[in-house]
Symmetry: C2
Subunit: 208 residues, 2 copies
DNA sequence: GCATGTGAACACTTTCACAGCT
DNA sequence: AGCTGTGAAAGTGTTCACATGC
């Protein structure tokens, strides 16, 4: 029983555990064991227990974990127990699709605005999310208390956009541009590199 | 000497090296050192050298790496030295955006067809890529010698789609559905979990 | 009996340090 | 001098094994 820094990969797995727990709750399960949780995740039961132990003692020995209680704990850890406001920068094809893709909303995130510079986009909206000119970014970030941003701009524009976001007070950026970004130490960046992911697969698959 | 199995994270970094090398080539550099390569990648020079050493000896001591030659070697390793055909399954918002997103094409991948079941989508096309009914998947995979697939269907449909892909002969799947997939041992899957990525950031950012 | 929580063993990655080539 | 390639050391993450409790 202690308070070590959580292994980085463990945090990634928390989301997966939470998703599985929600599925279990939906089908009426009240308890779940580490073995059951691990099964679908191609992980081991030990790993599940270790991961969860980083954040507290949630289980009952001999019984397992209470599905609803554990889900609530994980939501607290991930800070998705209340809705989190998010802004999107870059309302092109990919950005639009990320808003229309309902997955973020279902997990407690809400896009309050999208930003772009193209005159033909500014003023429109995507599924009700208004597209504003990027000049209004700082104001929106402030008004909506936004801490998280999704960046889907061309890579040559990414660094500049991130600078603006940091200055506006955003502290987490999910970046889809294939570019390494410099940020001040208090800002976390998450990188989603679609082309690199496919190249990695290409390597594993091997020859044509 | 060498010929060890490449560390998994090293493969991921190869794509990033390659991208940086292409940028260097475009601006006319002929040589680059591991230190220079590492700079932009927030890695260390040792790591760059170790990563590259897994796949051969590409550098010249005292000099560094030849930009063009190293890029070619990496493309060979990643199997992107020739165009690789890819199919998309799921022509919804996300799937369409992935085709329109030019990033895959720029790195040697070509979408030869998209597949869906919705009658209003089948028969249309996205940037010239035809949307076919999924019944025609096996034929297309065979005709175009497709080994890689991108899956952007709802998660409840993902497993079934992957089963069909495997049966058709695909050996690598990049899956955007938030679901863990069972595949035969010869099929690699790459997972891109957008919601989980944002949740991970949410954790790091902490309190509102 | 069964399942958690956890220290200890193990495996994998990264960093260090330096030999060897230019 | 500068830079690569590589074994050895350090660090990080995962699995094992079992004590503890239901």
């Amino acid at each position: 029983m202690k308070k070590q820094t959580p292994p980085n990969p463990a945090v990634k797995r928390l989301s997966l555990y939470l998703r599985h727990l929600e599925a279990l709750a939906a089908e009426g399960s009240r308890n779940v064991s580490s073995t059951q949780l691990a099964r679908r995740l191609e992980g081991t039961a030990s790993q599940v227990r270790k991961d969860l132990a980083c954040f507290g003692q949630f289980g009952r020995r001999g019984v397992g974990y209470d599905v609803a209680a554990l889900a609530n704990h994980l939501r607290q850890v991930l800070r998705t127990d209340h809705v989190r406001n998010v802004v999107l920068v870059g309302a092109g094809d990919l950005g639009s699709a990320l808003i229309r893709f309902g997955g973020f909303g279902r997990r407690g995130f809400k896009f309050v605005a999208a930003f772009d510079v193209a005159p033909r986009r500014v003023g429109a909206n995507i599924e009700g999310v208004p597209i504003l000119h990027i000049d209004q970014l700082a104001a929106a970030v402030h008004n909506y208390h936004v801490k998280l941003a999704v960046v889907a701009v061309p890579s040559w524009a990414a660094q500049q956009v991130v600078d603006q976001l940091c200055q506006a007070g955003v502290t987490g950026v999910l970046n889809f541009a294939p570019a390494a970004l410099d940020t001040p130490g208090n800002v976390s960046i998450g990188q989603v590199d679609l082309a690199a992911s496919l190249e990695e697969l290409s390597f594993r698959v091997g020859a044509d």
